[in-house]
């Protein structure tokens, strides 16, 4: 049999700026600069639109050094990634505040009716930060609380500035950041790789950032099973008399 390779996905597809800026490039710019660049046709409209918040201090051209590569067919749902993430970065074990998400899809996939989860396809998606070159979480933050590490290009949340408003969660196309229900601060992936170290199935790898601008693996079944709750009350199609 041929080894499984079909489901790896990397990056976000939002990486069109890389032709302009070199990999791992890092440019600290102002909103005015971006507007000028866009006006000159040197930047796509998405970039020009980006720095309307965050007080004009946008580090959005930094290409992060690393990204997580995931393969959901290998994921067995143990949550060791989520716990390892928070043990390292928060000092406690709190899967709901982890910087990647497995458990929320474990039962039923991304949504009820997706045909995923242990009750149906036995697949669910490992949701990991796409490490976008234009990071909407960052550009949307009204407090400039998502900052870029100058050496790695990786963004992280500055807890001093974060007020837990959740704008980043809403702005991220994948809703990856989480506002921690205890600290009321947002969290996002910093590409530390601890989750990958602890994955018992090698479903997560920390790789050097690549502009792999292709589609993700599946995030639902093409032909999902009908929902049990809409088709039967108990085993064998039994209905209560």
């Amino acid at each position: 049999m041929k080894e499984n390779t079909a489901l790896e996905h990397v990056g976000s597809g939002a990486d069109r700026l890389d032709a302009f800026f070199t990999r791992r490039g890092f440019v600290k710019v102002s909103g005015a600069f971006v507007a000028t660049m866009a006006a000159l046709g040197l930047l796509p409209e998405t970039a020009a639109a980006a720095p309307t918040s965050s007080k004009g201090k946008i580090d959005y051209y930094a290409t992060p050094s690393h990204v997580l590569k995931v393969n959901r067919a290998r994921c067995t749902g143990c949550q060791r990634c989520e716990m390892s993430c928070t043990l390292k970065n928060d000092g406690n074990s709190q899967p709901a505040a982890a910087r990647l998400h497995v458990h929320d899809g474990y039962n039923y996939g991304k949504e009820l009716g997706s045909g995923d989860g242990i009750y149906y396809s036995c697949e669910w998606t490992i949701r990991a930060c796409h490490m976008c070159t234009t990071a909407m979480c960052q550009t949307a933050c009204p407090h400039g609380a998502i900052v870029t590490d100058e050496s790695t290009g990786v963004r992280s949340v500055d807890p001093e500035k974060c007020v837990g408003c959740g704008t980043c969660v809403a702005a991220c196309p994948y809703h990856m950041p989480v506002v921690n229900s205890v600290t009321h601060k947002s969290t996002k992936c910093i590409a530390c790789g601890r989750c990958a170290e602890q994955c018992p199935n090698g479903a997560i790898e920390l790789i050097e950032w690549e502009n792999v601008n292709h589609s993700s693996g599946p995030t639902r079944q093409e032909n999902p099973d009908p929902l049990i709750s809409e088709s039967q009350d108990y085993v064998g199609g039994g209905k209560v008399a």
Binding site: S121, Y234, V235
Partner: protein
């Protein structure tokens, strides 16, 4: 951090009174040191609050769910939970523990609770919703009557897909004594708990937790985890050698649950097959492929249906088969199923050993495709019905009563309602659904099998079944073997007597099946239990000795410890390891080191073993208060003659062989009685009666139990003082644990 931070424990237990509707929360701080959590908390609460003699279906009975300091903390295999309630199916309605994995325990912890006490009784169907700090009693009328799958789906739809739903099915609603509580599709808390919740009209407990477990030394938890996973942890049951010859491995053993090999695939994985390959020690990212459980349990035909393995929260050993069998979907309506225990192989391991079914094996004895369908139809069905099997007793009893004509005689007209011919011809797997449904719904006569052998053997006049080796019943109070005399003779026999249900102890059987050669095991036995003669080769058993008693004692206290911490005793304790560089020695101090790293409280392995001994002795004493004697009077401390009575077949099997001859695990009556007395002594109990003594209750600080026993006239003097009967375990394997980060400090 602030002084008021609770490390490990959430610090609170929720209490839901269904009669009054009151919902309260109380601190568990005072119990933490002495009772740890999980089984310890649940047993302590039951002892304090449910008077001896209470019947399981009385409103005064409670169902107590609890987790421990290591649950959800990041410690490997810390995903389990323990319920305690009164037994629905064994003699005298005494306390039983109902263990379960899945996601329930961790979610409860993350909601900010170490436990949930369910008390009283509701008049209408309800479910209990725990959403972090918010706890409420909700109307369950819309899901009453439904299977656990639909119930889970409906409640997840309502409260969030990340909730864990622990639900009863029709078996629990209809008060079948064999009812269980199912979470996360197929994780069962058995021992009749489903009937207790059904009587209280609790359809489900829904838990959503977004908080964290505070950890005193997160770096140490991470370092210890890395060390454990790299060189100490094996596969399921901590089997530490592969099942086939592999170039990296010095040993292999075909019985091992380290079943990964080249050419064996998760063949139905999305996007194409994933090879299990040859995962080796020191490879943390292949750990989860070591245990290929679908083909191990269901034979080679299961490979093509295998999507992946999964399992409980927090465990890197993925022992849970996840299969998609189209024929099972046609019959049950459910596309996925799978398990790691009895429901993965109920037909071919327990039914056909008594009553053959055509077509389950081929000419070479290999399990067939149809056998996969048979096993998984039962698996999906019992999970949805919330039907427990008393560790496979249901399947043995069903096969036996069919084969011996008991069912035909007792069921009357109802007998013909089931397609026995098709079932046994191997052509009608759907017949299982009809049979199991009728057992679960508790209306037809066949449901008496779901009351357990204590009831049906009496009603159907078949007491002789207990004394038939094929029954596998090990105790006349109504439970079967759970790794008994076939597991190191007296050692397994002894720990099968301890509780009020099958023991669920794996500390010894893990060692037995780990795959290392017996000479090496004997060396290890000497280090851990004080003598090479603690263990014998299979079916070459020798008379009882001190080291065997120590091994039996250790098996019991480690199991109780794990059910309290909570860690998975199906893999823990780390008595052996796959790494040759450490001479295959495990690391018995990891529980204590993790406990200290998580809670910040310094403890030794011996401190924890002592706490486990306290919990075991509490259950023992509490049981004696409710146990009836031969005359039926409540309050009995003669465990030797009333409780710890092993079934006769263990002395009478293999009539051509004598006990201790090669080729049999037959037991000797005098040796057995001697062994009981020696084990009682090791626990500080009365050497004749097997009940707790004043001395041991004083040593363990069980003052409340002591006064209740005294009042009931059940307290006895004597008993060996703690210091004279115990030995030191801390550091016994330290010479092999050079890479242990806690020792480097």
């Amino acid at each position: 951090m602030a002084d008021n931070v609770s490390y490990g424990w959430a610090g609170y237990i929720a209490r839901v009174n269904l009669t009054s509707g009151d919902i309260t929360k109380e601190s568990d701080e005072e119990m933490q040191q002495d009772y740890i959590g999980g089984m310890g908390f649940a047993n302590k609460i039951m002892f304090d609050e449910v008077p001896a003699g209470t019947k399981w279906d009385a409103p005064e009975n409670k169902a107590v769910l609890a987790v421990g300091p290591l649950t959800g903390s990041g410690v490997p295999l810390g995903g389990r939970s323990t319920w305690a309630t009164l037994s629905t199916f064994t003699k005298d309605d005494l306390i039983v523990d109902c263990h379960c994995g899945g996601m329930l325990g961790a979610q409860l912890k993350y909601s900010g609770h170490d436990g949930l006490i369910i008390e009283g009784e509701s008049e209408t169907p309800v479910y209990i919703l725990i959403d972090d700090d918010k706890i409420s009693i909700e109307d369950a009328s819309a899901v009453w009557g439904k299977g656990t799958r639909e119930t889970t789906e409906a409640l997840c739809k309502k409260h969030g897909l990340d909730c864990c739903v622990a639900a009863i099915g029709p078996a629990g609603e209809n008060l079948l004594p064999y009812a269980c509580v199912i979470n996360t599709r197929s994780h069962s808390a058995g021992a009749g708990l489903g009937a207790v919740l059904g009587k209280k009209k609790v359809k489900a407990v829904v838990v959503r937790g977004t908080k964290g477990v505070n950890v005193a030394d997160p770096q140490m938890v991470a370092d210890l985890s890395d060390y454990m996973i790299a060189e100490v942890l094996g596969s399921n049951n901590n089997h530490v050698v592969p099942s086939t010859q592999q170039s990296w491995a010095e040993y292999y053993d075909k019985g091992s649950r380290w079943t990964a090999r080249k050419g064996l695939y998760w063949a139905a994985a999305e996007g194409g097959p994933i090879e299990t390959g040859e995962p080796k020690p020191g490879e943390p990212n292949t750990m989860g492929y070591r245990c290929m459980k679908s083909t191990k349990d269901m034979g080679p035909e299961a490979e093509k249906y295998t999507v992946k393995m999964a399992g409980c929260h927090g465990c890197p050993v993925r022992c849970y088969a996840n299969v998609q069998v189209p024929k099972v979907k046609e019959i049950t309506g459910y596309s996925s199923s799978g398990n790691t225990c009895v429901p993965n192989f109920p037909v071919t391991s327990y039914f056909t050993t008594i009553q053959p079914i055509e077509g389950m094996t081929d000419d070479e004895g290999t399990l067939t495709d149809q056998s996969v369908v048979y096993n998984q139809v039962v698996s999906a069905t019992v999970d949805d019905l919330g039907l427990w099997c008393n560790y496979a007793q249901l399947y043995r009893d069903l096969a036996h009563t069919y084969k011996e004509g008991i069912l035909e005689r007792e069921l009357g007209d109802e007998f013909a309602a089931y397609d026995w011919d098709g079932l046994l011809a191997g052509t009608n797997p759907a017949a299982w659904v009809d049979i199991l449904k009728d057992i679960a719904f508790n209306q037809k006569k066949i449901s008496r099998l779901g009351y357990g052998p204590l009831v049906w053997t009496k009603e159907w006049n078949d007491a002789a079944w207990y004394d038939n080796a094929k029954s596998c019943l090990i105790n006349y109070r109504g439970w079967p073997v759970h790794h008994a005399i076939e597991c190191f003779g007296q050692v397994g026999g002894l720990y099968n007597m301890m509780f009020n249900r099958d023991d669920m102890i794996h500390s010894a059987v893990n060692f037995q099946g780990c795959g290392l050669p017996i000479d090496l095991k004997k060396e290890m036995a000497k280090e851990m239990w004080g003598g090479e003669d603690a263990c014998d080769p299979d079916k070459a058993y020798t008379p009882i000795n001190d080291a065997k008693i120590e091994f039996a004692w250790w098996s019991i206290v480690t199991d109780v410890l794990h059910d309290s911490l909570t860690l998975c005793n199906w893999v823990w304790p780390m008595a052996m390891a796959p790494e040759k560089a450490r001479d295959y020695r495990g690391d018995l101090d990891l529980e204590a080191q993790f406990y200290t790293a998580v809670t910040g409280v310094e403890v030794t392995t011996d401190d924890l073993y002592k706490a486990a001994e306290r919990i075991m002795t509490l259950q023992r004493g509490y049981s004696s208060l409710g146990m009836t004697d031969a005359e039926g009077n409540m309050g009995c401390n003669d465990f030797r003659n009333v409780h710890d009575v092993i079934t006769e077949w263990v002395f009478e099997k293999d009539p051509d062989l004598k006990a201790f001859e090669k080729g049999t695990d037959k037991m000797d009556r005098d040796d057995w009685q001697k062994a009981l007395g020696m084990l009682y002594k090791r626990f500080g109990w009365d050497e004749e009666l097997g009940c707790p003594t004043k001395q041991c209750l004083d040593d363990l600080g069980l003052d409340d139990l002591e006064s209740q026993l005294d009042e009931a006239g059940l307290l006895v003097d004597g008993g060996t003082p703690y210091d004279e009967r115990t030995r030191t375990y801390a550091g016994v394997l330290a010479d092999y644990c050079g890479n242990n980060p806690a020792l480097a400090q």
